[in-house]
Symmetry: C2
Subunit: 642 residues, 2 copies
């Protein structure tokens, strides 16, 4: 549509000339060049960490980084997905493995191990990481950089408002002319949901009643050497499941949970009884996690029925024991949990302190070993670890979870004790957890890449509460994050997350019950500025009322923030991009060329996102990036001239 | 629970002594007595109008009014419901009817009519009504009364906050101990929903596609003497229903509809095409309203499936022609629209000006006659008007609808032209409409009562926008109202609506798209103060996203305002009380003694409303009422003494 485009062009050109911050009152040319340089360095740092871990880094940003370095742009290879089959397993390689400084090293054989000559894979070290961290930490406190980022973010906001006023109707017109596609049938992924809370309260209640009706005499629990049938369990709780209600189930978050993560966590116990949690929402129990699997499969069935909704549930690995992976994999396979509408993520709770105080582990390294060694073993010798190997094909990433608002006394530096030396009862800080998870995932991904196996995204909970340094750690180590609320508090980090388009799975209803009132949630603001945000439910069991939790999440956001169809479809598109869905699926859901930038990468017939919107986002990002690159280049010219 | 009760007692007693406004800085004893007297007069006025029309008036308030007059309290008879049957129709009475001053008068026979001796039924007159109106209008502007009401409302608010802090956990405990009852299986009625928009956008879209798939060659429209098949209709619109989407359907309200009721009204036309509205959501068209009926029955089916959800859809009678009732009744019976989960309300749009300018009617009286004469005829001679008689058994009330923000030049007084004289093109004002609808409903109800037939509630849209005088008219004439937002603006009216417990069906999602941002909606505040509010959807077609519109409405309110289970169950209970469900049904849904006051009237096993809450509401209302009565009595004593 020529009229529309010319209006847009006019508007963008008008701005391009207006918006170059050559000489504003509060920022000098030197400051601007300095800020640009620092910001670019941060982008290079994230790019390095992303590439090492086979994480995503946006093509547009990468292109500009190449041009800043006068390098040529190479197209990043697309990861290919291995087929799903129990036969034809890759050969065993019988490499040797050893953990050193909390990171697993791979050796061709025992000799190489003895001589300490690991295979040539990238092994990150804590010192370099600490230095990179300190660079970004310094810049988020740097005055001129803060001013620069703050001004750019304000500008992005005003620019979007103008875009909206000029192009809202044109976007709508584009969408109306798309045949057979609307918000209801664009793909949307629930990018952040915990498997143990993926059903809503009414669903769990009905499930409990149904099992009691049909299987009251089944032995479901062993405790203190004694076995209990379902009937005995409820008798002991002095409770008749027929009378059970959503109120007595008491798993829903309420006013009592606001800023009380501890109270929230206890909501995972139906009727406040840990027995019921054990029976119904654990994978490793007396009934081999059968009920939990059935519940999840019912949720998966609903998603498949809806056709257009997907979810990425988190299953827990604690690092308490080596067998955890084996058990979880066997459960997954035996219960046939695969669903085309689900992709699996492993969440690791940050609870070393609990295991240490119970003397389950001697040091932090042991937890890391329990988590990662089985993965390396299954990757090296798949025929020896068939179940884990097969399960890992369905796993697309790792999450790090716990209450971020808990304070840590230890300050992470390059002098921090190595994981083997971390024997004290105190929990390591957030950054320490993140670095060591990232480091092992990175090595593992490189090893798996060599073998043509799928790699994993690191997708920690980050910025839900607590210190903003969490967001710095994730800026280096995460493919994408969940929550990101605290980006509100740091303009530099928020701008960096924008420039590198780090996807953020946001859950405003969850936040509303735990950390931040709905009306104060920054999601709309982030979306308007152009950050890559998606919507997710977190815990339907605790937060949602209707049968369709993800639709409830979208409906409330759309209603409260008066989001346009284009807005919600953009969020849905972001959710697919961010997800662990395969390249093939993303091509199918977003369009053949989804990896390309701007409107070329968008198939409006599949995403229902207006091309005007895509062009606006792309041009705006290029604009921001070119300022940085130009500043550095002009400085280089000036230096040469002098 | 003794502990709980004693805590509550302590708290209430503490307050009772604190809260008697004997001598505050800003209000003198004289002012207080004067305010009390005026307020009581307003209550007597509403009681009079309510009784005349067989509307509900709260027992508690009525008791206090009796005590103020030193009268005895008589229990109000419970309306009984006639059986649902096409046979055994009541006899024809062959009374004569005549409209005089816009109100239908009933005569025993033609002789009585000639001698102008109407049957002894109460016939309201405009003069008395105008005087009563002016009394209430004067008091809402009276300084001391405003101060008094403002202070009482503030007090009610603070008192509820205190109640919450003290008793929240005790209420929750009560609810947890109720077997088998929770928010999901308490009865809730969608107290305000328009039949033409009772399906959501996705539902309508699917229905259109389905009819096109199976009935493309059916003749569905006659226009300008030509007949069109469904295929031809879509061909003319240059549209393939297969490609139709929610976007192109374009019935959803968006940012464009805020404060634009005109734009909102046009959203009733799918794809902006009035042909599709004619075919799919009209009861009187070429296909005899078959599609519209099927759509409604699908919605009814979903409600029946849900079991606990009911709705009171509005069907339109315009007053354009005498046959409207006959057509609507035949449609209803032929299409078998009865559902146990639906009760029907007739909405009359306030669009005399349109009909007058098109010369369809000569004056306003003609519209009233077209609306009400058939009802009187069917009541008098049921065997002559079988269909209307049977349909009326399913009708429980009347609504008056249109954009309240439209300004009227005419100011209603006792000198306003009589309906027969209202021949100008200008639309009569809101109050004029309300009075004449009320007057005819009142006479009709008295006539029907004589015959043992069901009576009708008058339930106008009121206070959605426009002048606050609308709320004064409804205070006199309405059983209950929809919206009531403008009560925000008048403390006196708000307090009167509280004292008389006028039910208010509120639709915050509708308001959010049309008149008032969600966060500014007074629903929570009204609920806290103790006004009788319910939640309703208004137009799922335009506002809602999920399959369960009413649950979406409840979920958003609960999430955003952090309502407790007790809060939402209280709202649900209010919705049943307010509804046109029968006495038998209300007994079944709320408890045997639901007509009694306070905790005695509440069966917690059915309503899931805590008895502590019921006691709090009842004692608080009694407290407020007793201040008024005491003031008047002490004044009387003082007068006697002097």
């Amino acid at each position: 549509n020529a009229a529309v485009l010319s209006r847009r062009d006019f508007f963008l050109k008008g701005f391009l000339s207006l918006s170059v911050p050559r000489s504003c009152e509060s920022i000098t040319v030197e400051d601007y060049e300095q800020a640009a340089k620092t910001l670019l360095t941060a982008l290079f740092i994230r790019e390095k960490y992303s590439r090492l871990a086979y994480h995503c880094f946006p093509r547009t940003t990468a292109k500009f980084l190449r041009s800043a370095n006068n390098e040529k742009w190479k197209i990043c290879p697309v990861p290919s997905e291995g087929p799903y089959s129990m036969e034809d397993l890759p050969q065993n390689l019988n490499y040797s493995l050893r953990m050193k400084d909390g990171i697993i090293y791979v050796y061709d054989n025992e000799d190489a191990l003895k001589q300490d000559q690991p295979r040539s894979l990238p092994y990150p070290d804590l010192e370099t990481f600490a230095i990179d961290m300190s660079h970004v930490l310094a810049m988020i406190a740097d005055g001129p950089t803060k001013t620069y980022c703050h001004r750019r973010l304000n500008f992005l906001m005003s620019k979007f408002h103008l875009h909206e006023m000029l192009n809202e109707m044109a976007e709508l017109k584009e969408l109306k002319s798309v045949p057979h596609r609307d918000f209801y049938n664009v793909r949307k992924v629930d990018t952040h949901i915990h498997a143990a809370a993926c059903m809503n309260q009414k669903h769990l209640l009905k499930f409990i009643k149904d099992t009691y009706k049909t299987e009251a005499d089944r032995v479901v629990l062993e405790k203190g050497g004694k076995k209990f049938t379902l009937k005995q369990v409820f008798d002991n709780l002095k409770m008749d499941p027929y009378d059970l209600t959503v109120d007595s189930l008491d798993v829903h978050a309420g006013r009592q949970t606001f800023h009380r993560f501890d109270k929230f966590n206890s909501k995972y116990n139906p009727v406040g009884a840990s027995e019921l949690r054990e029976i119904y929402i654990k994978s490793d129990n007396y009934i081999n996690g059968e009920y939990f699997a059935r519940l999840i499969k019912e949720v998966a069935h609903d998603l498949e029925e809806s056709k257009y909704q997907h979810a990425e549930p988190r299953l827990s690995i604690y690092g308490r024991a080596t067998e955890e992976w084996d058990n979880l994999s066997k459960w997954f396979i035996k219960q046939k949990l695969h669903s085309p509408n689900m992709r699996w993520i492993i969440q690791v709770p940050r609870i070393y302190d609990i295991f240490r105080s119970k003397k389950i582990v001697p040091n932090f390294a042991k937890i890391l070993e329990n988590i990662f060694l089985p993965l390396f073993q299954a990757t090296i010798n798949p025929q020896k670890h068939k179940e884990t190997h097969v399960f890992l094909k369905h796993v697309t990433g790792f999450d790090s979870v716990d209450d971020e608002s808990k304070h840590s006394d230890h300050i992470f530096t390059y002098k921090s004790p190595k994981p083997e030396e971390w024997t004290m009862e105190e929990n390591p800080p957030y950054t320490y957890y993140l670095f060591h998870m990232y480091a092992n995932i990175m090595v593992l991904n490189n090893l798996r890449k060599e073998r043509g196996l799928n790699t994993f995204q690191f997708r920690p909970h980050c910025g839900e509460a607590g210190s903003i340094t969490h967001l710095v750690s994730a800026f280096l180590t995460a493919d994408n994050i969940s929550h990101g609320l605290n980006l509100k508090k740091s303009p530099v980090l928020q701008y960096l997350y924008y420039l590198t388009q780090v996807p953020i799975a946001m859950s405003p209803l969850s936040n509303n019950s735990l950390f931040l009132e709905y009306s104060k949630n920054p999601l709309r603001e982030f979306l308007q500025k152009g950050l890559c945000v998606s919507l997710s439910t977190d815990d339907p069991l605790q937060f949602h009322y209707t049968k369709e939790a993800l639709m409830e999440e979208y409906a409330i956001a759309a209603q409260l923030w008066k989001l346009s169809t284009c807005d919600v479809c953009e969020i849905a598109r972001n959710s697919v991009l961010q997800s662990g869905l395969s390249h093939q699926e993303k091509k199918h859901f977003l369009g053949e060329n989804y990896l390309q930038d701007g409107p070329e990468g968008n198939d409006i017939r599949r995403t229902n996102v207006a091309q005007i919107r895509m062009a606006y986002r792309h041009e705006t990002l290029c604009n921001e990036l070119s300022f940085l690159v130009d500043a550095v280049k002009s400085e280089a010219v000036a230096e040469k001239a002098s």
